[in-house]
């Protein structure tokens, strides 16, 4: 399934790029993120808890950065599982930063996500809605952090 | 951990964990293998048994929750005259192909005829709508049930 969205941050592109590739900051913005670990400059491990109704799924993910073109673009691949491989997830992600009016930055993201296993069977349509809701929450959190820091 | 379940008129003592279903206990411990594990989700009907006289899914019944209920499997209906008529009609009509769905269908059909001795074809189909058959296309099954109903009339 394809998850995409965009949001505008009142901060210049260079700043946004630095923060969006900063694992310590991202850990605080991704809803349900319990831990992020830097394995090497291009590889991160993350543990994310996602709840859908009565189902709680703890995802163990590895994110590999494939391409980085500051301050415009990051291409990465995510692979992972939950429930001891009860579900397997993989996604190809692209993040693009575009200058917005008034000196801000528009953050655009696209992910092609594939989920197989027990969550894949549950109802992919509804998972897409959940993923979009998580994306919106992430945007809110990220914007909040960046704009608060800029104001201080 | 031991449970006392009433199965086909006898108390049987079985071991069950919290997540063990009646289907698992019937098949694996009591070797009452008429009820089949088809989908294990309650959709296909191959596990249909009678609980307190009503057709229900053994795969959706936690064994621990079945203490105190009267469970009847197809094995327990072998001396029932109505079931005998159904089995004879199924064989004569050709309503059995691979046989996997058959026990569940027979239990549902038995329950249907117990409440409606002379069902129309649409009532038969509605009454059996909880049993899937991948082989037969259902027509022979409905004919067999109608035939068994006819045989019951004095």
């Amino acid at each position: 399934m394809r998850i995409e969205g965009s949001f505008v941050v009142a901060a210049p592109r260079e700043r946004v790029f630095a923060e969006i590739t900063n694992p310590a900051l991202m850990a605080g913005c991704i809803p349900g993120c319990e831990a992020i670990e830097v394995i090497d400059p291009k590889t991160y491990r993350a543990r994310i808890l996602i709840e859908v109704g009565p189902i709680k799924a703890r995802f163990n993910l590895v994110v590999e950065v494939k391409e980085e073109a500051p301050p415009e673009r990051v291409v990465s691949v995510t692979r992972g599982e939950e429930g001891t491989r009860a579900s397997v997830i993989s996604s190809n992600n692209e993040l693009v930063l575009v200058p917005a009016e008034g000196g801000g930055t528009e953050v655009k993201y696209v992910s092609e996500v594939s989920v197989t296993g027990r969550l894949g069977k549950f109802g992919l349509g509804m998972m897409k809605k959940k993923a979009e809701a998580l994306g919106a929450k992430f945007a809110e959190n990220f914007r909040g952090k960046i704009e608060a820091a800029a104001a201080s | 951990m031991t449970l006392a379940l009433s199965i086909n008129g006898r108390i049987r003592h079985v071991q069950a964990g919290l997540s063990d279903t009646l289907l698992t206990v019937l098949r694996d411990q009591l070797l009452l293998t008429a009820a089949k594990r088809g989908c294990n989700q309650g959709v296909c009907g191959a596990c249909t048994v009678l609980i307190d006289g009503r057709p229900q899914r053994a795969c959706l019944s936690l064994a621990a929750n079945c203490e105190g209920a009267a469970i009847t499997t197809l094995e327990g209906l072998q001396r029932d005259a109505g079931m005998a008529r159904l089995q004879k009609a199924f064989t004569a009509t050709g309503a059995v192909q691979c046989g996997f769905c058959t026990p569940g269908v027979l239990v549902s059909a038995h329950a249907l005829l117990s409440h409606n001795a002379d069902p129309r074809t649409d009532e038969i189909r509605a009454g059996l709508s909880g049993n899937l058959c991948r082989c037969s296309g259902y027509r022979k099954i409905a004919e067999a049930v109608a035939e068994a109903a006819k045989e019951a009339k004095p």
């Binding site: - | 919290l18 989700q41 203490e67």
Partner: protein, 285 residues
Amino acid sequence: MSVPGYHRPKSVEDAARLLAETDGARCLSGGATLVAMMNASLAEPKAIVSLAGIPELAGIAELANGGFRIGAMTRHAATAADARLAGTLAVLRDAARQIANPVVRNMGTIGGSIGFADPAADYPPALVAANAEVEIVNAAGRRRVAARDFFVDWYTTACGPGEFVTGVHLPPPRPGAGLYRKLARVSGDFAIASVALSAARDAAGVSVRIAVGGCGPRPIRADAADALLSAKFGDAAAAAAAGEALAAAADPVDDVRASAEYRRLVIPRLVAETVAHARAALEAR
């Protein structure tokens, strides 16, 4: 003799206390959803609180005001067979009789079903159309929530941690019609889209409540749709406009049953068809 982790309390208060105090406990009604999820490893409760032994959760009782209280453990077969749910309340009977198949209807319960709040299930839009209230209990006591506020999001209800549904309250039945129509791939499937309609008729005219199921996180309703249908019941243009209003309010997904686009297309047609049937039912009286 019993199984560790399995509890069968005799009162609602005991059940609420057990749920609050026992780590990883889930309550068990008919098992049609929970046990299926356990079989698929989507739920792994550490304890089960069975509601089967609690008398006040069983049965449909008439209330002093002429309405009804459906106990949470009432099986779909019993709800579908209860002739007292007539007139405007018939929408609930019509929905119950279309749930799954006769065997699952002997097992599934209204409390379990609405507690799970599958967006494609049959009771949620019917409860909204019937103007029902849901009775919830927790360790501190009971409360009631209007059906339209009970279904909050995908598989999410107004029940908080440790809370569960004890019953559904229905207002007194009024003369009129109550219908539930479902579009599904096969008999007994969850809805691609469904419409629940309750139309009360008196000397002043017709008062309609309509809700759409299977097309969003919650039953879809629109004040404009209710108003249009009440003002001009049976008028094709009004039904079309109501259908469009409901389709615009919908938030459907693409899933294995249908695409979001198909659902949006189908809503006005299903609304028009349901209104036509309701009108015929009213005229037949």
